[in-house]
Amino acid sequence: MSAVVLQELTPFYGARQAVKPVNMTLASNQITAIIGPSGCGKSTVLRCLNRMHETIPGAYATGTVMLGAQNIYAPDIDPTMIRIKVGMVFQQPVALRTRNVYENVAVGLRLQGLSNRAELDAAVERALRSAVLWDEVKDVLDKPGTALSGGQQQRLSIARALAIEPEVLLLDEPASALDPIATASIEELLMTLKSRLTIVIVTHSMQQAARISDETAVFMVDVGAGQSIGELVEKGDTTQVFTQPNDPRTESYISGRVG
């Protein structure tokens, strides 16, 4: 597993710079939480890590992101290759509508040309077991993915991302659309996954960050010079960030004085 190193990463939306240049290292086999008020660019930075950011018309990023020894923003790199190595789960659970549960997980492998049924079966089961969903869906693999509950669909999304065996898993507020029980099951799942993966999770819930992450990065909005811009203000050990923050802005944020 490789660490992810951000060097002067600067996302833009058209002419507008969304975040001040970001420098940080996301350690492997750890869960890094990114927290901050809305509009601070935390999701934008996350989406830069597998080059999903640039799928928004007009959006692009400068700087480098090192995945192991590879700069994913090098000019000869194809974004689709990066997305195979860096999986992503979104805020809204996504079941691909026209596919059943099985195909929802197998789709990534099929894209890569895997068509051997036995291998696919094994990979799908492995992914679903990793996502702690196998026992619930093993009898309904041929039912539409959309028939599952919200929490199940989110774990299905995770299974789909895991099926292609990425090195890094990015999660963009994965539990914000879910009820507390589903949230708990997702958190539990992430704790078991970190032995295999580098996990980066964006969350608006400080409690969630404190519960599951090893390290925490705090982003804030800098409202100056006429426009607001996101900024990384602090990154460190989660316990330290929440108990003895170095930056006064972090302290006021976690104690609820701002945002």
Partner: protein, 345 residues
């Protein structure tokens, strides 16, 4: 009643909140004479809305009754009989067999559909998914504009520009070579008007319709579906082909059906380009006729009430088939829209 409500769009802000009302609420609930206005208001709107329903029934009833004479006399021969002869001559008795028109309608619409459907769906995909943002607005506007161009203009262009070009560049060489073996492309090319030019012009006419509807149904696909595909390393095309199109399949078929409906019922372009002859000839280059152009050409000159009734029967069939197509298409599009609104993803 001195109380006035002043709410305009300006009082309404982006967040969907009502701005502060300066006028205190003073409607006397229940007792205001104005309240009684709601009954006539509803009655009035219902009455005029009923006019729309009535109109449809009037059209259907008129077509049904006025076509009765011919329908009882000829039955299904009106659609499938091969001779259309309104005037009795020594050699030919009066006969109203609409097959030349029905055949011409079906063939020209089929040609139009074969050309237009794949192209239009590709345009819809390009507009909705691939087009650079700078081009999207002007291209979409152009497509909508073209859907609004009157059919008679397509006819003028077809007669003066396309037919001469097509005859010399395609029809003549093709009939001289392939035409000797394949009767579909046999010569001679006389006026150049016929089913194939009609079909091609019809294709141009229904292209914008299908393309803009396809774009609309593709836009209904939630972005989460695209992102989920992209995030597992799918290319743009794989995202479109494996997630976006399957999601909106029913809507695309609906769009094509609406295009087909327009091609079947189109009158002017067909009248000007098809050549208007009741003779059936196997060659697609030879003049033919379509149901709509038959009605447009003969109804005001009908020689007998039976002739008139036969023409109205043809219009009745046309109405029936477009009604069926529209109903099916709306059902499919409605189905897609309902699916999009419901569900979670």
């Amino acid at each position: 009643m001195a109380v006035r409500i002043s709410i305009r769009t300006a009082d309404y802000d982006v967040e969907g909140q009502m701005a502060q009302q300066s006028t205190p609420p003073q409607w006397s609930t229940g007792k205001s004479p104005l309240r009684h206005g709601d009954v006539p208001f509803r009655a009035g709107t219902v009455a005029l809305a009923s006019a729309v329903v009535l109109l449809v029934f009037a059209v259907a009833w008129m077509l049904y009754t006025s076509s009765q004479e011919a329908r009882t006399a000829f039955g299904w021969d009106l659609l499938f009989g091969s001779t259309w002869n309104p005037v009795e001559t020594e050699l030919n008795p009066v006969s109203f067999g609409g097959w030349p028109a029905v055949r011409g309608t079906l063939l020209s619409a089929l040609i139009a559909l074969i050309i237009a459907a794949p192209l239009a769906v590709a345009i819809g995909i390009y507009l909705a998914e691939l087009c650079p943002p700078v081009l999207r607005t002007p291209l979409s506007f152009l497509v909508e504009l073209l859907a609004a161009v009157p059919s008679v203009i397509y006819g003028v262009w077809g007669v003066f520009v396309f037919v001469p070009f097509f005859s010399s560049a395609v029809a003549e060489p093709l009939s001289a070579t392939v035409g000797a073996i394949v009767p579909w492309f046999a010569g001679p090319i006389a006026t150049g008007r016929g089913l194939i030019v009609t079909g091609i012009i019809l294709a141009l006419m229904i292209l914008p319709t299908i393309a803009s509807l396809t774009r609309d149904v593709l836009r209904l696909v939630p972005n989460t579906q695209r992102e989920a595909m992209l995030a597992i390393g799918a290319t743009r095309w794989e995202t479109i082909w494996l997630a976006v199109i399957p999601y909106s399949r029913a809507g695309i078929i609906g769009a094509i059906m609406l295009g087909l409906g327009r091609a079947l019922g189109e009158t002017m372009a067909a009248t000007m380009l098809v050549g208007n002859t009741q003779r059936i000839s196997e060659s697609l280059f030879a003049p033919a006729t379509t149901a709509a152009s038959l009605v447009a050409n003969e109804l005001t000159n009908s020689v007998s009430s039976l002739h008139e009734s036969a023409l109205i029967s043809v219009a009745f069939a046309l109405f029936g088939i477009t009604l069926f197509l529209n109903f099916g298409a709306r059902l499919l599009i409605w189905f897609v829209e309902r699916n999009t609104r419901g569900g979670r993803s």
